[in-house]
Amino acid sequence: MDKYLAATTKKVSNHIYDDVAFVILSKLPLKSLFRFCCVRKSWSVLFQNSYFMDMFRRNFLSKDHPYYNDTSLLLDHSAPWDNGYKPSVLYSLFGERFENTVKIDWPNPYQVPHYFRIYGSVSVNGIFCIEDNGRVGSFGQSRSVTELGRIVLWNPATDECKVIPPSPFAFESPCWDPLIEFHGFGYCQGSDDYKVIRHLTFFPLSDGDWEETWKDGYHDSLWEIYCLKINRWRKFDLDMPTQRIGGAGVYTDGVCHWWGESEIDDEVYLVSFDLNNETFVKTSIPSNMDYIDSAIVFRHLNMLNGSIGFISNYAETSTFHISILGEVGIKESWIKLFIVGPLPCVEHPIGIGKKGDIFFRKKDNELVWFNLNTQKIEELGLKGGSFSCRILIYKESFLPFERKE
C-alpha cells in the first residue's frame, strides 16, 4: 500500500511547466520579471513572448492599484480658443462612462473672482496647487509684481485656501524679467510639510538701463523651494534639468517627476525629484524605444495604473505608443506595453484615469476617452482647447493642511 502511495505521489508531483509558470509570472511587477530572466532561457525572453505579454497587459490594467483608492476624476477644462482668453472651468466627472459633469467652483481667497488653473495631475492629501492668473476681467492688463506667478494651495472639499507669498528672488532685479516655471508640489512625510519647487529663468528687459542690467553680469537662473511650515521661499542650488514644455508632471509619494531637458547635452530625461531629501535621479530613454522613421510629436508623461509611463505620439502613423517604467533611474526598465491606433482623429492625450482609461482631445476639439481593454472611444460631450485641458486624479480629504499651533 505504501509503495503504491509513493509511486502516485511521484507521478503527481510534476514541476510547473512554462505555460502555467507564465500565468504566475504575468502577475509579478517588472523588477521581479527582470530578475527571473536568469532562471531559465525561456524566461529571459518573456517580454518578446506575445502569449505572456497579453496576460501581463491584462493583469496590469485590471489590478487595483492603491494610487487610485477612493479617488475620482476631475477635468480642468478650457474651451477652444477662438476670440480671446478662455478661462479654466473645473468639473468632476461621474458615471461609468463619465456622462455626468458637475462644475466645481474655484476658491475665492481675494473676495473678487480670479482666473485659476490646476498644476500637476493629482491631488496631494486632497490639496491642489493652483495657478492664479489674475482678477477676472483683467486679462491682458499688466499685473503688479507681487501678483505675477502667484500660486494658491487649495482643498476643494473644505475650501481651505492658502495664498503663497511671492518669491523674493523673482523680482530682485528690476532690469531682469523672470520666467517662473512650476515644477512640482508635494508632501514630505519626513518633515510633515508641503513643498513647491519652481525654476526661475531671467531675461534682460529690453528697455532697461544697459549698465544697470549688466552690472553684475548675467542673472543666472535658479531653483526655489517653498515650505508651508515656514511659509517662505528658499533659493536652491542644483544642476537639474528643467521641464520641457507641455508636461503636467507626475507625483508619487513625495517625489515629483517631469520630463527634463538637459542644457548640456540636449538629452531628454525623466527627472525624479525627491522632496524629502531634495535630491534627484535622471532616467534616460533608450534610443531603440522610438521608431526611427517616424517623427514623434511629443511624449506625454503620466501615470498608467500606478506606474510612471509616457505616451508617444507618432504623427505619421497616427499611433500612440504607451510605455511604463519598471524602476526609477533604470533606463533598461522601460517597457513598451501598448500600441494604440491608428487613431487619425486624435490630436493629443489630456490625461489618464484609472485602469487604462486614456483621455484625448480630438482634432475637432472634442474630448474623448479611450479604454485600453475594450479599445473603444467615447465622447465626453465637451470641446476643449489645444493643450489646455487636463484630467486630474482627486482624493477628497477633510483634514486642514495648515496646522495652527
Binding site: 503527481v12 510547473i16 521581479s32 530578475r35 527571473f36 536568469c38 531559465r40 524602476e327 533604470i330 533598461e332
Partner: protein, 154 residues
Amino acid sequence: MAEEKSQASSSKMLTLKASDGVLFEVELNIAKEMKTVQAYIDDCEDIETIPIPNVLGKHLAIVIEYIKKTNEEYDAEFEKQWNMDDLQLLLLAANYLNISGLQECLCKAIAKRIENKSPEYVRKVFNIENDHSPEEEAKLRKEYKWAFEGVDKD
C-alpha cells in the same frame, strides 16, 4: 463499505476518486464547478464514480472545500494555510480540474510568495533546470543588477 446515506432530497450526489484511492461524495452542483468533471458527466450521464487520476486525496479534499466556501473573505485567507509545495500541487489540481476561480487565487498567491525571491529560490521551488550557460547568466545578472537589490535572503 455500506454508508448511511441521508436522503438529500433534490441534489444528486457524485463520487470522486482521487489518485490514491480516497473517495469523496459531493453534490452535483459542487462537482460541476470542476469543468473537467462537468465534461465527464456530459459525456456519460449515468456515471456515479469519476476517477481523478492526477490529484491526491488530500488535495482533492482542499479543492472541494474551496468550492463550497469560496468568497472574497475566504479567498484572501485561503492560501495562507499552505506551504509552497502544496500550493503548486493545488494549482496543478485546479488546472486539471479546470476551476478558474481557484486557479486565479493560487496563481496570485504563488506570485506574491516569489515576488521578492532570488532566481535560485524560484528554480528550487518550481524544480526548474537552469539551461543558461554560466556566461549567459553572468551577463544577465550584470545587466539587471538593479533588479537584485532588496531581494529576500534564501
